[in-house]
Every structure is written in C-alpha cells, then in structure tokens.
Amino acid sequence: MSGVRVLVGTRKGAFVLTSDGKRGKWEVSSPHFAGWEMYHLKGSPTDPNRIYASQTSGWFGQIIQRSDDGGKTWIQPGTPPGEQTGPGGVPKGESNKFVYDTSAETGKPLTTHQFYDGKQHPWEFKRVWHLEPSPTDPDTVYAGVEDAALFRSTDGGKNWKELAGLRGHGTGPRWQPGAGGMCLHTIILDPSDPKRIYIAISAAGAFRTDDGGKTWKPINKGLYSQYIPEPTAEVGHCVHHVAMNPSRPGVLFMQKHWDVMRSDNAGDSWKEVSGDLPTDFGFVIDVHAHEPETIYVVPIKSDGEHFPLDGKLRVYRSKTGGNEWEALTKGLPQSNCYVNVLRDAMAVDSLDKCGVYFGTTGGQVYGSADAGDSWTPIVEHLPAVLSVEVQTLP
C-alpha cells in the first residue's frame, strides 16, 4: 500500500511522521538533530530514500545532512562515519561550505545590499533556508540561502557552488532583509524545462532564469507593495512564498507580504486574487496535487500581529484559482488560537484524495486526507514548526 512521509523541521530538531495511504494513524519519530534549528528537509522526487536537511545554529553555523534510508540515519555528505578523511587528513567533502563565488571566471563581486536602516551592508552567509532536490537526479540539489543567493550541489550535497548570476543581477544593492533576514526561501524547478528556475527572496521579489541559472530577470510586474518607496518597483517586494502545480508549470501562485497573486505567464505579470479573503496577509500558499486551480492559504491577521484573525485557525481554499475562497475549519481550533504558519510549513501529497499538511509555531502539525475538508492534528506539542514537506511513497 502506498504511504506518506511528512518531514517536519522545527526550532529544536527534525521529526519524521509516517503513515499508510489511509493517513489515519501516524508514527512520530524521535527528534533528529535535537536542539538544532532545522530550517528545511526535502526528499528527492526520484529517490524517496534520499532526503536533504538544513541544520543550523547561531553558535556553530550551517550543516547539511543527508539521509539515504528515508530519514532513519543521516550523514554529513562527504564525511561518513568510519571514513572521515581523505588523503592528508582533508575532508572528502565540505558539505557545510557555502562561499559566495567571487571568481573572475564564474563569479560576481561581493557587493552590498540594503540593510534595515537603509544603509548598504556587506553580503554575509548565514544559513540555508530551503533545499530543492532535482526532479531527475538525486545527487543534484539546490540551496536557497541567507544572505540571498542560490547554490547548487551535483554530488549529493558534498560540495556547493553558487549560481552567481542571480546575486550579480545588478539589483542587489536594492535588496533588503525582511524581518526574518534576507533569505532566498523559494526554489521552483520547472519539470518541463530543466533550464527554467523560479526563486523568491524576502525582500527583493521573484526572479526567473531560462538558461539554467546563468542569467536572471526579476518577475515582479503587477506586484504592489505600499510599504516600499516605489510600490511598483522592479525589486524590493516582500514575497513570502510561491507555489506551482507541476502539471501546469507556467502558472504560479504567490503569497506576498500582503496580497495573494497569480501569474499565468511564468511570472511575466501578476494579478491579485485575494478576493474575499478576510485578510490577505500570510506566509504559506500551496496548490492541490491534482486540481491545479485549487489553492490553499492560511490568512494571518497582519504584519504586526502574526496570528490568525479572531483567534480562529482557518485554512482558506479556492477552487477557482483565487478570488473566491472558502474557510476550512473542521478539526482546526476556532477559538484562542494565536499561532503562525511559516512560509515553508505547508505541503501536499499526491494521493487520491490529495492530502494537505501544515505546521504551526505552536508545534502542531495538522493533516487533511480529504483535500482540506477536515483536519486532524498529527502531533501537537513539537517545537515551533519551521517547515513541512511531504513524500508520497510507492
């Protein structure tokens, strides 16, 4: 029978939740990397046993972990136990080494970006926010980092190389950090065109490459952000998350700081589809696995109050690609709920019916086995949830 594996990154460790295809009973693993911030875990679409994880710490920096057995055991790529060093004692890989490419051949000068106070600030690597494994090669994986840049590994996470064309696009001095830092948090690989990649940065906006990462262009036309000096600027928008249904790669859905947006032309232009949402601030957005016009958001009261409106945790679903929304409340707390749902903390499985999952800063992970009609808490007392990803297992 098919099954589901939910990968949960939290402030204090990673958890693997597993169930069969009915998604009624769940096993919750012990914490992996207990005590560490686990920003993101994601499995390879071509090898479900291959999972990449971003492990970070304000004390010890960035670590990349990899599992080749579905999350049971982990290694830092390049330094497996018992075979820790290569000739001369050097590591066989430096899986946590993220160095901006400033080489004359392939890199770009390390310039500055705008800081919170409006001054220019040097680019400094802090952590990996998002890992995106290739849809075709389990050894190829992309990493979105803070300060914003895109890296790629083609050897299973051992070595990382920046795709410097993005940072060198020329608008970098106008990029600025959101409250969470200047992070590249969204990476979407177009399954129909291996040279097309979408990324999003807070607070710079969305960008697209059509040549495998050599050159990039901002795709923010139609976004309106009243909190920046020029609300329709080419860059500077605080895009929170972007989602795509793989069967329709030209159509994108975006949860911006405020506003839910959609693009029907691969990001060349956007239109607002917030419609009748009670508030259009939020972080997550995702698309139904089988119905590409069915999308999900979790409205949050405001940028100053990061919790649901009226203390009611409600997922909103649109079956019309936006504008018309319905509140999904069955099984979710409808009073005294003041958690947040962070940008990478929602995912869908591809079973029939589509499963939808999200995690909260209060440590709950909710799942729906009926496309959002009803919800059940899978686990309720984890540390604050940073990310949720799902693997649909054969």
Partner: protein
Amino acid sequence: MIRVVLPGHLRALARVSSEVQLDIKGAVTQRSVLDALEAQYPMLRGTIRDHVTQERRPFLRFFACEEDYSLEPPDTPLPEAVASGKEPFLIIGAIAGG
C-alpha cells in the same frame, strides 16, 4: 596528546561521547589545535571557525587552565599544561537562556 572538550552539539556532530585527543607535532597553539581537530573530525570544519576568514565564530570562546584565550592571537602558544595533556583545551558555547 592534546585533550579538547567540545560543546555537546559538536560532540554529537563528531559522533564522540567525551573529550577528544589530538596528536600535534610542533607548537601547540589555538591554530594548531583547531587544525588538528578539523583534520581528525572534518565534519567540524566551519562550525568553530568561519570557512573563509578562519576567525572564531562569535558565540564560541576558548578557555584553558581557567584563563580565557578567545582574544589571543591564534599562533600564541597555549599553556604547557595543555601541551602536555594535563589540562584540556575548552571550546565553550555562549550560554543563552531565558
């Protein structure tokens, strides 16, 4: 043998349960100790010193013989008690509570 005490999280990364022992030829300094430590446990590269600048990460401190060596130049010799293995070299994470 040089003895090094790691913070708990780095012991977990290095998959060791207690202090580690290092064999160092030549002068025993912060730099030679950390070089030897990273050679023996390459998964610790970048966790104590920045990959590029090789500077101590800001939330870590170095102690030995009840003295703070964090701000000493990396090539300053460590005390004889550390070089002889009588006392450990301590890598301490800043305490964050609250």
